[in-house]
């Protein structure tokens, strides 16, 4: 990238973590290059390095039928699937390519190979296409690749963001950033339950009135679906938004990306009731701040509940993936209880 490369294709890997290589990947990405790497051909739920580093796009392989090939690795650091071939039914199931000969790397041949090494350059090619179509940053390329990927939607360790889709990615590049409204719906459902659980004497004037209060509604929106207007306005009037603006336009739990940079794993303290609790502290003695704190707590409750519902994303620092679900649900519950307390106090005081 010091010589102008924008796409680095790494159809290789190993199992040893190396801080030097991790820093090199981060350096490349910082210089504006997309790093695309093969997830591995060992077929289990661990993604090999360098694909597993936060700055790299980890690519798994699908066979001709579009499902993940049995040799392809998958797991927490998987980002995308792409055609890598599956030769169980013969050479025609592989990726026919101009390549290096088996056992004679100096000899060019035309051969049918299979592997995540073959899937990776498909993604690299589309990344180059996205740069050619006007993408300015690796972040823009990655977002378009993920948003345009085909499949049921949402990230899973088995499929990443889905199957590479060149047309979908190009379409996603030009499209307005996608805003995920479902967490808001979850928050509204939680609010309704909270209001029903309250003694009518303490009910803050009906669900509609509460929701129409901008002091509650705006923090609720920002914490559950994000301050997306900021990014849309920035894109329209200023140009490609810098990382901080992109981070700020995300839901508050995802602001961790401003601090920790891009990563597939969310930080458990951001994906917890910690921020709502910190915000609620000043609200104890400051009555007019309570709707704001209640809005944030409700937004977190909805966001965390929705994250638990979709089983995504994974949380860093938690040694086992299965701990993520109780963590998200428990913290959603704490946030909801906090919101309830703030709503009651609002009326009593």
């Amino acid at each position: 990238m010091d010589h102008g490369a924008r796409v680095l294709n790494l159809s290789l890997g190993g199992f040893g973590y190396s801080r030097v290589i991790e820093n090199a990947v981060a350096y490349a990405r910082g210089k504006g290059a997309v790093v695309v790497a093969a997830a591995g051909n060992h077929g289990d739920g661990t993604v090999a390095y360098p694909a597993a580093y936060a700055g790299a796009i980890g690519v798994g392989a699908v066979g001709p039928d579009g499902t993940r090939a049995p040799y392809s690795a998958w797991g927490q650091q998987l980002d995308l699937l792409a055609p890598g071939g599956d030769k169980r039914k013969g050479d025609e199931g592989g990726i026919l390519q101009a390549t290096i000969a088996r056992g004679a790397p100096g000899t060019p041949v035309y051969a049918s190979y299979q592997g995540t090494s073959m899937a990776t350059p498909h993604v690299s090619g589309v990344a180059a296409l996205l740069f050619a179509a006007g993408a300015k940053t690796p972040g823009e390329v990655e977002r378009a690749l993920y948003a345009g990927a085909s499949g049921p939607g949402g990230w899973t360790p088995e499929r990443g963001h889905g199957l590479l889709d060149a047309a979908g990615a190009l379409h996603a590049l030009g499209a307005a950033p996608r805003v995920d409204w479902q967490p808001l719906a979850a928050s509204a459902a939680i609010l309704l339950l909270l209001l029903l659980s309250l003694n009518p004497r303490f009910r803050p004037g009906g669900a509609l009135n509460v929701l129409l209060d901008p002091k509650l509604l705006v923090p609720l929106l920002i914490s559950s679906v994000g301050f997306f207007v900021l990014r849309i306005v920035w894109q329209k009037w200023v140009g490609a938004p810098p990382a901080v603006v992109e981070g700020l336009s995300l839901p508050i739990p995802d602001w961790e990306r401003i601090v920790f940079g891009r990563g597939r794993l969310a930080h458990p303290l951001f994906y917890s009731a910690l921020i709502p609790i910190l915000v609620a502290l000043p609200a104890m003695g400051w009555k007019s701040f309570r709707p704001v704190a209640a809005g944030i707590a409700l937004g977190f409750a909805g966001f965390l509940a929705y994250a638990a519902w979709t089983r995504a994303p994974g949380l860093s620092w938690l040694p086992f993936h299965f701990l993520a679900l109780p963590w998200l649900l428990g913290n959603a519950l704490v946030s909801a209880i906090l919101a309830r307390a703030l709503l009651i106090r609002r009326e009593k005081a």
Binding site: A101, Q114, S117
Partner: protein, 71 residues
């Protein structure tokens, strides 16, 4: 370490010789030469896993062979 298993050529990427160990693990062999390097050979390998190794076949942890013989 000592690993017992079966030699197999993994058709992954440009391909690689692997040891399908009796415990179900698959290692990618490094530095294995000779008559034993043939499909289906039963062998005992003495060597060590090289965690720093990187390969294009990515068939499994790289096992650096020090000595090996037929099982």
């Amino acid at each position: 370490m000592k690993v017992k298993g079966r030699i197999a050529f993994a058709d992954l990427g440009a391909g690689a010789w692997t040891l399908e160990a009796d415990d179900g693990r698959r290692y990618q062999l490094l530095g294995a030469k000779g008559d034993l390097l043939r499909e289906g050979a039963q062998v005992v390998v003495e060597g060590e896993v090289d965690t720093g190794a990187v390969s294009t076949a990515m068939a499994g942890p790289v096992l650096r062979v020090h000595r090996w013989h037929a099982a």
